[in-house]
């Protein structure tokens, strides 16, 4: 038993308590906050299990962005739920217990946790990714190599998923309705400009903003060497602007980054990513084969390809996250 086990136990206890708490509370506001806490705690577990990139993303996306969206929805709807009747809870409990039971059954034949001789560690993939990627791609962060190159096609798909969500939300919540004269004055859900006497908040957030955006850029371009990449950077960039919108009001944020610009940026990122794929095709390689980007130095081609696709990811994610926030925040109009 080393110290890590105790940290594990503490974290798992917090997780279980949070999960039970959010299942039991009927205050949806509390449940949303607990769900953010749940994500943040699970990010700590991911750090302990060496998945720093995942932890980073889970903290930014799960604890940050998702919670913002939940709160935005709660501001537009109501925050208390009904009591769950037994006719719903009993079958649900049976299904949950059965599913859990099957998984426990499955786990009895799973390889021991963290052992060195598991099929996952023994597979030739391990050696290829951990040893050969340095010569093939030359990026120290192997997660970035695998994400953007070996399995770059999955990541293209993932960027498309973000793009899909953004245009779906735009379709559902965007301002498509023709304005009528009888419409009440726009009432915005979340970000009213905070009152003038909150000067500390305004000054502090104004001071922080450049650093948040700078950090996002660092995460974007340093993803080759440390944890980070387009996804994390995109979410951080967007959250910086969301902070701005919360403190200075939605109109100020819209003046800084207009919804029309976002509507161009979301598809632009996907186009950059897919465009790299088509460029490699035209250069005579396979789809997303970055080696052909530099005829003389394949590793440099890989660097270039990864840089470009991460840029595409960063642009789409930043714009999509901000667009989601705008869509929810602006949905007071016309109600």
């Amino acid at each position: 038993m080393n110290g890590f086990v105790w940290i594990d136990i503490v974290l798992f206890t917090i997780l279980a308590a949070t999960a039970v708490g959010l299942a039991r509370t009927r205050q949806l506001f509390a449940a949303a906050m607990l769900s953010g806490l749940f994500s943040l705690t699970s990010a700590c577990i991911f750090v302990l299990q060496d998945a720093v990139d995942v932890a980073f993303t889970e903290a930014a996306v799960g604890a940050g962005m998702t919670t913002v969206l939940f709160l935005g929805t709660l501001a537009l709807t109501r925050s208390r739920e009904k009591v769950t009747p037994p006719r719903r809870s009993i079958p649900a409990a049976l299904i949950a217990i059965f599913t859990g039971g099957v998984l426990i059954y499955a786990s009895t034949d799973m390889p021991p946790f963290a052992a060195a001789d598991t099929p996952v560690q023994q597979h030739p993939l391990t050696q290829r990714f951990l040893d050969d990627s340095m010569t093939e791609i030359g990026v120290p962060n192997v997660v970035t190599s695998v994400l953007a190159s070996y399995r770059g096609y999955d990541t293209l798909g993932e960027t498309v998923v973000v793009f899909t969500a953004a245009i779906a939300v735009l379709m559902l919540l965007g301002r498509g309705r023709p304005a009528t004269s009888a419409e009440p004055k726009p009432r915005e859900a979340l970000p009213q400009p905070i009152q003038h006497d909150q000067r500390v908040l305004r000054v502090v957030s104004k001071l922080m903003l450049p650093f948040i955006l700078l950090f996002a850029l660092y995460v974007q371009f340093h993803g080759d060497y440390g944890p980070g990449g387009g996804f994390q950077a995109g979410v951080i960039f967007a959250s910086g602007l969301i902070l701005y919108a919360l403190v200075f009001g939605l109109d100020a944020a819209r003046a800084a980054v207009s919804p029309a610009a976002l509507r161009r940026m979301v598809p632009l990122g996907v186009l950059i990513y897919a465009g790299v794929g088509f460029a490699t095709l035209l250069l005579g390689g396979a789809f997303l084969d970055y080696n052909v980007l530099d005829a003389h130095d394949p590793a440099h081609g890989q660097h270039l390809g990864i840089l470009l696709v991460e840029l595409g990811v960063g642009i789409t994610v930043t714009a999509a996250m901000l667009m989601l926030f705008y869509s929810f925040a602006a949905r007071g109009v016309g109600r």
Partner: protein, 120 residues
Amino acid sequence: MIASHYNYWIAVVLLMIGLYVVMSHSNTIKKLIGLNVFQVAVFMLYISLGKIEGGTAPIVDAAFTVYSHPLPHVLILTAIVVGVATTALGLALVVRIHEAYGTTDEDEALIADRREAERT
């Protein structure tokens, strides 16, 4: 068995709580919260597959020789992003359902539809 498998079991327990919340609650927002818990539990299951005793994060450096497996990390990065995309779309639907029905409760909305159908 316990020392080598408790990681999986905790994830399974969390997964069960999440699944229970999704299935039992009729409030649409609560369902999505449950869905999040359910998915995070699956992420934990995956990440635990990559861990190796004495390993470190898979960022190659001369100071280390043992690294955890990067592949589960890559897969879960994708899955996290898919999760937030689904949540965002689900919440947009919740907002629209609330506008159309005046409630965020699935059962109440279904009852409203049934009443409407009976009236016509």
